[in-house]
Symmetry: C2
Subunit: 321 residues, 2 copies
């Protein structure tokens, strides 16, 4: 019989959040550590072990943990390995599932952060009851988790669902972190919004509050604040971003015809500023046979919770060691 709790770990480049979750999806204890603090992966695992054990003991949950699930960048569900962890301070590949399960003596399953968020959304959020949906995470990058027939899509190698790297500008596109040009991520991430702001400010001459800021350190938050204060150029930056995202979602629909797209992450907080152009571009560009079908929704989960809960759900999938 399954033990009553699971551990969910959300491993990001800066912070690692973790929590103890019960079978009903309650986070009964949680905390976080700094990922980047440790230049050595073993030191990181040691601190994680110490801190997670601390909350396990405090919650009287010793010997009651069924499994550990981790959402981490570029984590491979099949192999348990982080094969190319661009934002992590350690050399790859990292056999993370093995390192964790050996240290804790508890079975561990990993997947990438966007997939973990999708699992969280399906189990506890806006995608409850949906068998076909696509989660789009708009953060520093653009991630995605695809669910078809109620199953997470991992692909033949464990790396499916990299929709942030679909090419949206085939000519003269922006450089992307992946080494190619024109990727969705280069436009629709928080970083992409800041880049669009810099581009607009350089190319155009109209008035904007954004001109009062140091152009090289403008963030998507600055653009959001300016747009909320009525700045026309800032609003157009969101229109530009949302239009590209809407065009992308229209293309994605031809693939799996999802019931909904769930938008998640920092940029999703921009609300109608981003959602209005997304929906308009989607309706304008989607193939007629799909018109009016797919919903475009915001995530219903708090960001931290979604990641921990989604990752923790993998802790129920583990088989006995």
């Amino acid at each position: 019989m399954a033990k009553p709790y699971v551990i969910g770990i959300d491993m990001g480049g800066t912070n690692t959040a973790f929590g103890i979750v019960d079978a009903r999806g309650n986070v009964i204890a949680s905390d976080s550590i700094k990922t980047a603090k440790h230049s050595n992966i073993d030191d990181y695992i040691d601190e994680l072990y110490t801190e997670i054990n601390r909350i396990i003991v405090a919650a009287d949950a010793e010997d009651k943990i069924n499994g550990i699930g981790i959402g981490a960048p570029n984590a491979n569900y099949y192999t348990g390995i982080i094969e190319d962890g661009v934002n992590l301070p350690w050399p790859t590949p990292i056999p993370l599932a093995d390192l964790i399960s050996k240290k804790f003596g508890i079975p561990c399953i990993i997947t990438n952060d966007a997939n973990a968020a999708a699992i969280g959304e399906m189990t506890y959020g806006a995608a409850r009851g949906m068998k076909d949906f696509i989660m789009i995470t708009l953060g520093t990058g653009v991630g995605s988790g695809i669910v078809i027939n109620g199953q997470m899509v991992y692909g033949h190698d464990g790396f499916a669902g990299e929709l942030g790297h679909v090419i949206m500008k085939r000519n003269n596109g922006r450089m992307c972190g992946c080494g190619r040009t024109g990727c969705l991520e280069a436009y629709c991430s928080a970083t992409g919004v800041a880049r669009t702001a810099r581009e607009f400010l350089e190319i155009r001459s109209d008035e904007s509050k954004l001109r009062e800021l140091d152009i090289d350190s403008i963030t998507s938050k600055d653009v959001f604040d300016a747009a909320m204060a009525g700045d026309k150029l800032a609003k157009e930056i969101f229109d530009y971003t949302g239009t590209i995202l809407g065009e992308a979602l229209a293309d994605f629909t031809t693939f799996s015809s999802p019931e909904a797209f769930i938008i998640f992450g920092g940029l999703a907080k921009s609300g109608d500023l981003i959602m209005k152009p997304v929906r308009e571009a989607f309706d304008k560009n989607v193939l007629p046979i799909f018109k009016g079908k797919a919903k475009i929704l915001f995530s219903e989960m708090k960001e931290a919770d979604a990641a921990i809960l989604g990752a923790s759900a993998l802790g129920w999938e583990v088989k006995d060691a």
Copy 2:
């Protein structure tokens, strides 16, 4: 217990091919009728009934048919309805599965032609043993059938897998039959190749055998023949076509990371003329994490067989009426 035979029907705009198939995938009898001959759907169903019964009787297979599977344009697996049959001579929607199962007294399941081809390829062709692959059919249009985790992807509404309508040219793209511009199908179908030929001949001034032909009636076959005879411009038309298809396959990989793409249909017969630029563009454009992984293969099936066999496989899925 299942009866020993199934019927597979491949319904195209011009011809409808059908066959009796046994559990090992042998087509034990087959024939075809003209789809477009009948201006009334009921007359078409009547002729199909007469002709299929003829081969059933000849094969001594009366009362031995487990089910009927049909591959037809825009056919919806879930509803059994052809909801928008652009190339068919009858008004849509057509409740095809119902019409057939009532007429024959045998349960019937339908799906679109590209999905049927994918099922055929998975059961009897180049995708045997694969759980994740994408079938691309290059015919008058560009169709696709997507298999993930060993399951056909139908999407929430039954219309998933319309990859021919992913936008490849976002600006100044060609008009597509779907009413939008820049679709993959407008470039990489047989019609697309002929359009590229006309475009190249108009815009360029270099020598080509194709200039001896009536420009308005050039076909992809003409371009193929010229290329095989060493015509440089004709070869460049295939390079142009294959490059766009390779770029598209690179994007599709980010979705489901398939083990292979299977290329099927008339244009696939162009062999290396199309495959070489496809592979080159794919390798050049695919996200680094997927480099060198997905195979790009030609279908191993005869076109007619694949469609009948693929459709017939649905005849094993039927439940007792």
